[in-house]
């Protein structure tokens, strides 16, 4: 029943949408019915796929860059509380700045190409990743540390054998948030200035009142987001097999 629930919900929404648009005779450029959106999604697939690939690349590279920043950063913050204390206010403040405001600046700095979008996605992603990994380290059962303390284990070994595996559940919940918001970063970057990508396509089509294409781009974007989420969930299950099996 739980597996069917999302499909039931989406189907009923689509049916109501279709009926309302047709009954009220809403113009296609204001709100196209789902049937037309579906048609465009499939017919324009080659065009959409090309742009989707660019956006996917931006998200993927943004994720890689965020990981490369977040993991070392959270380890350093965990090892040195003074660095943690020094950095935390800036990290929090950085999240208070709306990405929308920075986006034009990033385009000026990093150009119209991939780089500005990758940086944009990274800015959105690195914070949840850093915070979740860091708090994962802090939640380690202090009793488990006794074993390592008696052995005078160096930090490096404690990290590899104890802290990192213990932080994995928290890391994965951060990663899930990250992949969910990564799309926002990339698309936002594309809105401000780009030559390719789903965000760019949306702006173009919006200008031409091709609302059906806009929705088609959204469909592809959602599918990409769901795909990423499923991938992360898979990895989570694979690595956290020991978690859901407590007595």
């Amino acid at each position: 029943m739980h597996r069917k629930a999302p499909f039931l919900l989406i189907t009923s929404i689509l049916v109501i949408w279709e009926l309302l648009v047709r009954l009220l005779d809403v113009p296609k450029f204001i709100l196209p019915p789902p049937s037309i959106v579906l048609q465009t999604t499939l017919l324009q697939a080659p065009l959409l796929a090309g742009h989707a690939l660019v956006t996917a690349l931006e998200i993927g590279l943004g994720l890689c860059l965020s990981l490369a920043i977040s993991l070392p950063l959270s380890i350093v913050m965990f090892k040195h509380p003074s660095i943690d204390a020094a950095l935390t206010p800036f990290l929090v403040a950085s999240q208070a700045i709306p990405v929308f405001a920075v986006a034009p600046l990033l385009v000026v700095w990093f150009g119209y190409g991939l780089l500005s979008k990758i940086v944009m996605a990274t800015i959105v992603i690195f914070f949840p990743l850093t915070v979740s990994t860091y708090s994962g380290f802090k939640q380690v059962d202090p009793d488990l540390e006794i074993v390592f303390d008696l052995l005078d284990a160096p930090f490096r070994k404690k990290m590899r054998l104890l802290y990192w595996p213990a932080a994995l559940p928290s890391f994965f919940s951060g990663l899930k948030v990250a992949v969910a918001v990564a799309t926002i970063g990339a698309v936002l970057g594309e809105w401000v200035g780009a030559q390719r990508g789903l965000g760019y396509l949306m702006i173009q089509m919006n200008a031409r009142l091709r609302t059906d294409m806009l929705f088609a781009a959204l469909v592809w974007l959602s599918l990409m987001g769901m795909g990423l989420w499923l991938l992360v969930s898979r990895l989570e299950k694979r690595f956290l097999f020991w978690l859901n099996t407590k007595e």
Partner: protein
């Protein structure tokens, strides 16, 4: 000879223990018996060097040492096994941390696991085996610390009565076959009488040793409480009952 002299531990609002003195011969089995919540665990943590102390010193083999961090392995009521590692990997933690020859230690570990009834379970994860088996694995791990002193803090308290009796025998084997000096905390009088060479009766907070019972003249293994041991059980209970009323 292990000598603990004048150990004191004071928290800001609480004197946990003051001026604790005891000694035990190498290869002997000392048992601390007292009401729960009387600071026994803190005593072990201080001796093991996991927590600091306010005064006192420790002598081991005639030499003053700051603590037993390099001499002792510790085992708690919680098995302290890493949930994401197999039993074998858990047992090998000391070898990994100390950078020992893993192949050799592996063979040693597999041999020990099978001597303690875990043959065939090397690649099981902690959640897949019973509490008794987890404690056996924890026991084997303390052996692979390669330390002469074992500090056992209520290692069997969480187990059912039958498993407990079996594991009491294993702990005795560890003392006799592997020539370890064992200090164990328990609140089971019978367990103390079956295993101990010396019993230290502890008072309620601030913890002190109220009586020391020398059991070295009674041969081990002691199968069950004969009339002499049964009388001692009553005597010990009547002494400890006073502490319980105070509590």
């Amino acid at each position: 000879m292990l000598k603990v002299c004048g150990i004191t531990k004071i928290y800001p609002n609480l004197t946990v223990f003051r001026n604790i003195n005891f000694s035990t011969e190498r290869g002997n089995f000392g048992v601390f018996l007292g009401p729960s919540g009387c600071g026994k665990s803190t005593l072990f943590r201080v001796i093991a060097g996991i927590e600091g102390r306010d005064s006192g010193h420790i002598e081991w083999k005639g030499v003053k040492v700051s603590d037993l961090k390099d001499e002792a392995a510790i085992m708690l009521q919680k098995d302290l096994l890493l949930p994401w590692s197999t039993l074998l990997d858990n047992v090998l933690i000391p070898a990994k941390v100390l950078g020992k020859d893993l192949q050799r230690e592996r063979n040693k570990a597999i041999g020990l696991l099978s001597r303690f009834g875990l043959s065939g379970f090397e690649d099981y994860f902690p959640y897949q085996v019973s509490g008794g088996m987890r404690q056996r694995a924890a026991l084997v791990r303390t052996l692979l610390f390669d330390r002469e002193i074992l500090l056992l803090d209520e290692p069997l308290s969480a187990l059912d009565a039958l498993t407990r009796r079996l594991l009491q025998k294993e702990i005795l084997r560890i003392q006799l076959e592997f020539e370890k000096t064992v200090l164990m905390i328990t609140h089971d009088i019978k367990e103390a009488l079956l295993l101990a060479d010396r019993i230290f009766l502890l008072s309620h907070l601030p913890t002190g040793i109220i009586k020391e019972i020398d059991m070295r003249d009674m041969p081990k293994p002691r199968q069950s409480l004969g009339p002499k041991l049964a009388a001692m059980e009553e005597e010990i209970f009547s002494i400890l009952r006073g502490e319980l009323v105070d509590a």
